[in-house]
Symmetry: C2
Subunit: 147 residues, 2 copies
């Protein structure tokens, strides 16, 4: 499965989150061969749970694994420090990012620490975030701990 | 409430986790004035959930908040990159750490980024981890993504 096809699944998750009234960020964890291990989206609003960012939701959905070095985290948005820390701690080998225009998280730091990073610059992902930030700025700032 | 009293609550959580057969790491989130906001422990084994480290469990239990700058994360063990990323992203102002002998996570990095760090060197926290790592090394390595 190529990067765009993997991103399409993360974007489906983001759209599910938007349609539920939540933060429209989605993610999915794959093997390097493109097998889907887990997918999910931000659930701050839906579950009243500030710990469920999209990447943590996908990681959780993938279940327990002995290691992650052959896995790829695909996310619609540049991962925040929380989710970048997840990638570094668990040794996820590669991160595919829909866009890093509306938010620039920790992906440069991950690259410095040997994680392969691909930023796709996907216009649909940018549009999802631009619409969300314009409509719900207070929810967005809450989600990234800015006030 | 002083640091030792706050740590005692995190240590109670770690012991609960040990007695459930899980990874014996506990945490609690307080206000700067010592009001308990949330407490929890690692739930990898109990919930089959690799995303529930002690700090994320305490953060989740505290619920949604507009900001965290006046909060203190208290944890029995130096926070891994995942949990250090949580602290940095959400702007938690201070971290109190039971011990950093059996595992050295991201607390130096947090200090470089302005987070107040206190390492208490608590012998009971050290003993909990030493016993656990000796008894269940494979579970410990899984929990920190090492193999």
């Amino acid at each position: 499965m190529d990067d765009k096809s993997m991103l399409a699944i993360a974007r489906e998750e983001a759209i599910l989150g938007r349609d539920e009234g939540g933060v429209p960020i989605g993610a999915a964890l794959f093997t390097a061969d493109g097998e889907l291990l887990g997918r999910g989206h931000n659930r701050r609003v839906q579950d009243d749970d500030p710990s469920m960012h999209a990447e943590t939701a996908a990681f959780r959905a993938a279940g327990r694994r002995p290691h992650y070095r052959d896995t790829v985290m695909v996310t619609t948005l540049s991962p925040c420090w929380y989710c970048s820390g997840l990638v570094r701690q668990f040794g996820i080998g590669r991160v595919v990012i829909g866009e890093a225009e509306t938010f620039h998280g920790g992906h440069d730091w991950l690259a410095e620490h040997g994680v392969a990073i691909s930023v796709l610059g996907d216009p649909a992902c940018v549009a999802l975030m631009r619409e969300f930030i314009a409509a719900r700025p207070e929810l967005w700032f809450e989600d990234i701990g800015k006030d």
